[in-house]
Symmetry: C2
Subunit: 576 residues, 2 copies
């Protein structure tokens, strides 16, 4: 079996009995995907067909290269919001130029993700802390919901900061289109009651829990159909000026890529990078949590290829940035998807919709799409993580709140940049403060413990310092500072013993610091000793000048070092 076999693993091992689950899941996900792809395209400021186009080839590309068996790829709320936010300063929503830029955004995102795969950058999926992600998603959800109020109420609101929007809304409530607001309000009430009441009801009627949950996922489609029929019958689009989707081009998109000019790249690379990062982190965390439930696993480096290919495929077919969505993936999983064949089936069904059924969306009112979005994102607002973080670690809770506020007050890109900066700051701060402890011998044993925590014996004139982390550029200087601080407190010190049991790595900067420390201590007649240096670290230090100087002062165990120092201390010049 060749590692780069042409067919994906799941297809070569496909078992006949899986087809029922994959078919069912593919069908149900499609029923969710149709209203969502239309709604999220609207959220991104794009015509509805762009959302549909983004729901075909990306699913197939992911099926060929991704490693999750159940991740449902396609347009998602947060990436749509980020697309709108990235393109707003560059072009007018809905224009040909705007659509071209959206396609290029998907292309650049795809290329960035795809090239990150062979560079093995998959570990970046875990680099944003959970509280930062939670704050970002919750903030985006609030931003999205508020942004949809104009479509929901049929009122023109300025697109600006959230404060502007809310202020404008407060003063223009008299300009609300009552029929639009009525349809939208009804849709929200229907969708919410479906989610909150239908599942318990069905369960009470004896339906299995997972099936009942799934039924509620069909509610958006029902709302779309109901509202479309109502508008078609009543003619409120003409009589009451209710905004509708209108003509959606039918037929499959032409395949190909728009030309990318260097000047466009300068405005698009950063948003593309942020969309890639957020999309990748979201996909991997959804895929991971679903995979764990079945004892499967996903490989972040290969996910980069999968999601990268999905975005390139999206660009190639006139779509916009896609990623793995939370809600659809969970439904896909619960509906029994065994393999990405479910995604391929969704893609085929979507192709049929695009080829022949786009006319059906003509009378679909925008307010229902807004209602779908608002109800969908309301479940993304995550208060539990805040509560847990608040109880467990105030610093984590603070970074959640800061990211949340950043998204709301500064904007979605600025918010995620703030989150990245917070995560990096925590990382740098943590890395620069290595854990160290002065230790002594537990009486009568060969064990050594922290002098602050236990009753232990120390040797006069010897400081025994256990280093609890690897040493490298960000923390090595703190060792120097710690030793100096200890020496100031104990000026009679004649020896410093560094216990290196937890030092797995030692980079060139740390080697330099240790070299300087040894020389500096020697010039003050203080002798440096090492103990418990791990094999790989010792192998690297040995040929260096420091290693040669330390040859006779490196002990296998701390116990031996203590014995040797006791002997030295009892030499004639300092009688015991």
């Amino acid at each position: 079996m060749h590692k780069y076999a042409l067919l994906p693993d799941w297809l070569r091992r496909y078992q006949r009995q899986w087809i029922t689950g994959d078919l069912t899941a593919g069908l149900i996900v499609t029923v969710m995907l149709i209203p969502q792809s239309l709604a999220y395209a609207m959220l991104a400021g794009l015509p509805p067909e762009v959302g549909l186009y983004a729901s075909v080839l990306p699913l197939i590309a992911y099926a060929l290269l991704g490693t999750s068996m159940t991740l449902a790829v396609g347009p998602v709320a947060v990436a749509s919001l980020m697309t709108a936010s990235a393109l707003a300063p560059l072009a007018t929503a809905g224009t040909a130029e705007y659509i071209t830029l959206a396609v290029l955004l998907a292309l650049i995102s795809g290329v960035l993700l795809f090239t990150a795969g062979p560079l093995r950058l998959g570990f970046l999926a875990y680099f944003l802390s959970h509280p930062v992600i939670s704050g970002f998603i919750s903030g985006s959800a609030v931003l999205i919901a508020i942004g949809q109020l104009k479509s929901l109420l049929g009122v023109a609101l300025p697109s600006g900061s959230i404060i502007d929007t809310v202020a404008a809304l407060a003063t223009s409530y008299d300009k609300v289109n009552p029929v639009t607001a009525m349809i939208g309000g009804t849709a929200i009430a229907f969708l919410l009651s479906a989610r909150l009441r239908l599942a318990p009801l069905l369960k009470a009627l004896g339906m299995p829990a997972s099936l009942a949950e799934m039924m509620t996922r069909l509610a958006p489609m029902a709302a779309v159909i109901g509202a479309t029929l109502y508008v078609m019958q009543s003619g409120v689009d003409r009589t009451a000026n209710v905004s509708i989707v209108g003509a959606v081009p039918s037929g499959l998109p032409a395949l190909g890529l728009p030309a990318l000019e260097w000047s466009q790249l300068s405005g698009l690379w950063l948003p593309a990078l942020l969309i890639s990062l957020v999309g990748f982190v979201e996909s991997v965390s959804v895929a991971q949590s679903l995979a764990l439930k079945r004892g499967q696993r996903i490989q972040p480096d290969r996910e980069l290829l999968g999601i990268g290919a999905a975005n390139i495929a999206s660009a190639f077919s006139g779509g916009y940035p896609v990623t793995g969505g939370f809600a659809r993936s969970v439904v896909n999983f619960s509906a029994g998807a065994h393999t990405p064949a479910a995604g391929v089936i969704s893609a085929l069904l979507m192709t049929m919709v695009i080829a022949g059924m786009t006319g059906w969306f003509h009378y679909l009112p925008h307010t229902v799409l807004a209602a779908t979005i608002i109800v969908a994102v309301s479940s993304l607002i995550d208060v539990d993580t805040l509560k847990e973080a608040w109880r467990y670690d105030k610093a984590d809770a603070l970074s959640l709140l800061l990211t949340f506020s950043g998204v709301l007050l500064l904007g979605v890109e600025e918010g995620i940049l703030l989150g990245v900066a917070l995560s990096l700051a925590v990382l740098v701060w943590r890395s620069s403060h290595p854990h160290m402890a002065v230790v002594g011998r537990v009486p009568g044993t060969e064990h050594f413990r922290n002098v602050d925590r236990q009753q232990v014996e120390t040797l006069p004139g010897l400081i025994a310092l256990r280093i609890d982390e690897s040493l490298y550029f960000a923390n090595a200087h703190m060792l120097e500072e710690k030793v100096e601080a200890l020496l100031r407190a104990q000026p009679q010190t004649r020896g410093v013993l560094l216990i290196m049991s937890a030092v797995n790595q030692l980079d060139a900067t740390a080697l330099g610091v240790l070299t300087d420390l040894e020389k500096n201590l020697a010039s003050r007649s203080i002798c440096l000793h090492f103990s418990e240096v791990k094999g790989p670290v010792l192998d690297r230090i040995r040929p260096t000048p420091l290693g040669q100087r330390m040859q006779d002062r490196t002990f296998l165990s701390t116990h031996q070092a203590f014995l040797a120092f006791s002997d030295m201390a009892s030499l004639p010049n300092q009688p015991a």
Copy 2:
């Protein structure tokens, strides 16, 4: 003794016998500072007096707030290059607007550094790895030296990329001003021979090494005086068109700040941040290495205040960004400076120069200043660190070379950003790959060692995994992956024991990962156990849902966990 006493510590404890050393050092540093402040102002694209202004108040401000006894603050080569690079796109060198922007750059840098002090961001001094700093300084030195060729040779060269400059030089060698080149060449030959020959000669004649080294530092002043006298006598500034400094305004600068407009801030904050970072890192590393030689210490958080105040003072007196310089600090140290009083003496001497002696610089030829710069920065090119890094750690050598090339090919700001990105990437990568080892019992003991390295006993059905680092958002998922990989390799596993002896901290993300892991394992009838959880970590886990579930499965020692698991394994349903 109050912590915030008005007078600095060194002044309150000042001892009479220190005054000789401080006076000598202050005088010698001033003799170095005069040509350097003129030369570095030229390098920064500023008129000579700006360099002089930056050499007075900043020294006094640092003396009041800094913690190094010997750091010599003022204009330095790298910060001057960065100033030129930051302002080039914003204004024409030498214009009033350019000078105003340079003053604002010092102001913003100063405010950034000063406010970072109370935020305790001093640890950032160690956040760039030594190879990255070395590559950055070497690259800047080459860039500076090549940039000075036009002044040295008296030829007009385009200010652009290094390749443009070298190419232009190759085609315009016939436009070189022969007299200028002759003076410059002589100055370089004189300065180099002073450095390479004078000190050994003086030492051979019996002069103490440190005094001999110091004498060579006076060579630039000698070159300046010699060349000025030569030009004045020969009149080559008129007859051969040799470029000279010309009129330097005399008298002290008016104190005050130019108005800062928000529009200027957008172009200045990033360069100011980078200059602050580089200047701070350079200062702290110089100050640190000098302090260690005398068993003193510097406090990075207070250094932020000191260098920040120096920059604010520079802006306030019409100067430009300053920081602690390497060469002058070493001379200051060797000349016997005991306290920052040496800096105050330099400042007073510089005041006298500005007040009455600026006329003396009229006939000073630019080519000699260029020669001073080239010889000064040539000693910053650091090949030793590259050699050492290459031998010890290829990855470190690579990051040095990348930063070096980045500075040369992309520019000084891009170069340091690349260095920051490299350092962060290394940090994130390191952080995301925690060290873990499967362990077994050393026969007949209670010690547990890595199964791959030693002959140890394991229990069938139990995986004992020792985690060698703290767990947090960046690495917690790798634990999950490691456990899953081990379980795939040993599908008969009934228990997983996590040995937490090296886990000093556990953040909310890691707690979430452990909670999910425990549930997920339980659903597959695999039991999770903990051992050797540190006190502070246990205290935080205990009240959480995970802590409650793990109550009976948390063992003090790995040995106890092994005994308990042996008992469980021998229960009736699985006879031993």
